[in-house]
Symmetry: C2
Subunit: 110 residues, 2 copies
């Protein structure tokens, strides 16, 4: 059975947005908005896939994959996503880091 | 107090190794070897930092950061790390994906 936590991507090159975050206490709408954002991201031009995990202490890493930088910029500026980003800054995260990177090679456990 | 889960990195460009994995059941020496590998990685030339998290279902993402690709290759070929990689393939992971990427820009929640 396919493990759906892994993104199934084309051969490089493509782009990655590495988002690491520490959650603040309480949900404050985070769960529902998070699901909505994943659904919405999947509909954007250039979206390739996403992998995401968070430990019991609230430290998480989400990596979304995109065909090109223009797609990343368009998603960053998407109206509904902007609202989520602002709420994230105010309510959901104690801290986060975002890094945009060009994936040059990839290999996997066969 | 500084949140030590986050890597404190210089301004881009630098390189990232994105390692996503599903753990197999049981420890089989994984915990001790994982700690040893982090300690060892930190001593390698070109190592900048690492962020790592794993959820209760065993899906994890570790991103290590490096100054350049030569440092990544040297670490991949490090003798003790090679043994860990082989054990990982055999015993620790059901599946993993490794992606090497050049970080071009970064921003954070202030």
């Amino acid at each position: 059975m396919r493990d759906t936590s892994f993104a199934h991507l084309p051969d490089p090159p493509y782009y990655a947005v590495i988002f690491s975050s520490r959650r603040a206490l309480g949900d404050a709408g985070y769960g529902a908005m998070g699901e909505r954002m994943v659904t919405l991201a999947q509909k954007q031009a250039g979206f390739l896939g996403v992998e995401s995990t968070r430990d019991a202490e609230g430290f998480g890493i989400t990596v979304s994959y995109w065909t090109d930088e223009a797609s990343i910029r368009a998603w960053k500026n998407h109206a509904e996503h902007r609202i989520a980003q602002e709420t994230g800054m105010q309510d959901w995260y104690q801290h986060y880091e975002t890094r945009v990177a060009k994936v040059e090679r990839a290999y996997s456990l066969k």
